[in-house]
């Protein structure tokens, strides 16, 4: 799903080595999340209070959590929910960011300065205030948290897209295409988007991870808790107290997030500038 974002006309063979690893890693994660429940009946909410924090065994490959629930089931559900919500957050940050960035870079002049000022102000507002305002308006809704987080993250897309668009707007390739009689749509599709795609997909990769970590931070100050749903960020907070008693438990959500970030990072191929 992150892979589709890059939109580069590249077939699997053409993907350089690192990106193939990245795409493979992401597909593996998603496969586990979506295919596992089909293979074996898993109930992320079924508890067994007599068998809490059990070590990984054949019966329970990932052990049980502090309420005796199957960690395998919860991890699969958590991956599904978190990657889905991260995608919501990334899209709700990328769409306004890219559109406003192109507008600012293209028009220049006072639109550029006005949008730049708005972006700087949103960046200066404590993100936490925005997220909590949204979380309070729609209590118990996960999407509200993720959209709240996106309210802060769109500025990063805006800045990168504006810089690229501004440099391209004055370039000979655009002037030539305009002279040849092509309209704005064509210029966007042929010239602008391929130049923006790698930068945007890199930011998307890191945006997804930041969204999940932000949920973990919110869960740490006990906002957005919604038992019994399994969410990567919140699991890190819930399983934190058992870091000495059952260290493998809290490592699982962190390892999944690490693989997710590494996968996106390799896939995007470039770090955010």
């Amino acid at each position: 799903m992150i892979a589709t974002l890059s939109l580069l006309p590249s077939r699997w063979r053409a993907l350089p080595h690192a990106r193939r690893w990245g795409a493979g890693l992401l597909l593996a994660l998603l496969a586990v999340a979506w295919l596992l429940p089909l293979a074996m009946p898993l109930d992320p909410a079924r508890q067994d209070l007599m068998n809490i924090l059990a070590a990984p065994s054949l019966a329970e490959p990932l052990g049980t959590d502090h309420l005796g629930r199957s960690q395998l089931a919860r991890m699969a559900a958590a991956i599904r929910l978190s990657t889905g919500m991260a995608l919501v957050s990334v899209l709700s940050a990328a769409l306004p960011g890219v559109l406003l960035g192109v507008l600012a870079g293209w028009r220049g002049g006072w639109t550029d300065r006005a949008l730049g000022l708005v972006a700087d102000c949103v960046l200066a507002l404590p993100g936490l205030l925005l997220v909590l305002l949204l979380a309070a308006i729609a209590p118990g809704q996960f999407w509200a948290l993720y959209v709240g987080i996106a309210l802060v993250l769109w500025v990063e897309y805006f800045r990168v897209v504006r810089a690229t668009t501004r440099s391209l707007a004055a370039s000979p390739q655009l002037q030539a295409s305009r002279l040849l009689g092509f309209g704005h749509g064509y210029l966007l599709r042929r010239h602008l988007w391929p130049a923006l795609a790698p930068a945007v997909s890199t930011l998307a990769a890191f945006g997804a991870a930041n969204a999940i970590l932000a949920i973990a931070a919110l869960g740490f100050v006990s906002i957005g808790l919604e038992p019994p749903t399994a969410e990567l960020g919140l699991m890190m907070t819930e399983l934190l107290p058992y870091y000495r008693e059952a260290p493998w438990i809290i490592l699982q959500p962190i390892a999944v997030l690490f693989l997710l970030v590494l996968g996106c990072q390799l896939l995007a191929g470039r770090e955010p500038q």
């Binding site: 000022l117 700087d120 200066a124 993100g127 936490l128 205030l129 925005l130 931070a217 690490f258 990072q265």
Partner: protein, 314 residues
């Protein structure tokens, strides 16, 4: 010098807009939030044990909630304009004194964290950038990705277990002596360093491949002098510029690290104020954090001007 004045004017305008934004947002907070505010404030004041109807009614009378929205809004902005932030509904102290006290602690923590981040991130990043795709570069990438996927409270816990419980070098939490600032600042710094190290690595890799760096070497300068006189400064510009954007993570990290290390900072206060719907306090802390962010960004802009003389003439 008009570049400098236009920059400062821009930042002043931004500060004004941030103040207006915070004022409006917190005003919305008072009006739009479901859940009875009076009850939450009473719970915040007297502890949830002895909150009951008459306690909540006493608070409601005191706040005189209600009245026409627009009138209140203008009245609210009027207060803000006069920098009269009112009194915290929970502790009764004047918001300004509470914020100054907490802002001082948070500012200290944030500055030490940024300093540590600058000491850890960019040097390692630049070393990795000099020898592209060497073992240090790969380790740097993996380390940065690992740190970016660890929530700051897990980093904090690991630090306490190693440096405080294990080695006993630093106190685990709380504040008081100078030694108390190190672990929370390091927990914040590692998060920031993970980002700045990759920015420094890319900048250095670009500079190392540039023609002026090659010419500095073929002129006869040793690799150390070439790095010190040409590499450091050219790679420094993007690192310092990226610092401005990075502060967003600093503010978010402060909230978690402060509550983990029991540090009386502003992030911690903002969370409590929001949960207890102590709106004047929310406005005071949010305003302080916003203006802190604008001030740090202005600092970053000035450093960029210092490092990059081209910007002065442009």
């Amino acid at each position: 010098m008009n570049r400098l004045t236009s920059l400062l004017l821009g930042r002043l305008l931004q500060a004004g807009l941030v103040a207006w934004g915070v004022g409006t947002l917190t005003f919305l907070l008072t009006r739009a939030l479901p859940g009875d505010m009076a009850y939450r404030i009473a719970a915040g004041r007297y502890g949830y044990e002895n909150v009951d109807r008459d306690a909540a009614e006493a608070v409601a009378r005191e706040l005189s909630l209600g009245g026409s929205p627009l009138g209140d809004y203008l009245y609210w902005l009027g207060d803000l304009a006069r920098l009269d932030l009112g009194h915290s509904l929970v502790s009764g102290e004047s918001v300004w004194s509470e914020v100054r006290h907490q802002l001082g602690h948070s500012l200290g923590l944030a500055l030490v964290a940024v300093l540590l981040a600058l000491l850890i991130g960019p040097p390692l990043g630049m070393l990795a950038g000099l020898r592209r795709d060497g073992w240090l570069d790969r380790a740097n990438l993996l380390g940065a990705v690992l740190l970016r996927s660890l929530p700051s409270f897990v980093i904090g816990l690991l630090l306490i277990m190693v440096f405080s419980v294990g080695l006993g070098w630093f106190p685990a939490a709380g504040h008081g002596g100078a030694a108390h600032v190190w672990l929370p600042a390091l927990a914040l710094a590692l998060g920031l360093a993970a980002v700045s190290t990759r920015v420094a690595r890319n900048a250095m890799a670009g500079v190392a491949r540039s023609p002026f760096y090659a010419f500095a070497r073929t002129k006869g300068l040793s690799s150390w002098i070439a790095f010190r006189r040409h590499g450091l400064r050219n790679a420094g510009v993007p690192v310092v510029a990226y610092l401005g954007v990075q502060l967003v993570y600093l503010i978010e990290g402060v909230v978690v690290v402060e509550s983990l290390f029991a540090w009386p900072g502003i992030g911690h206060a903002l969370v409590h104020a929001l949960v207890a719907r102590d709106v004047p306090m929310v406005q005071g802390t949010a305003l302080a954090m916003g203006l802190l962010f604008v001030a740090l960004n202005t600092l970053v802009d000035l450093t960029c001007l210092l490092i990059d003389p081209r910007r002065r003439q442009a």
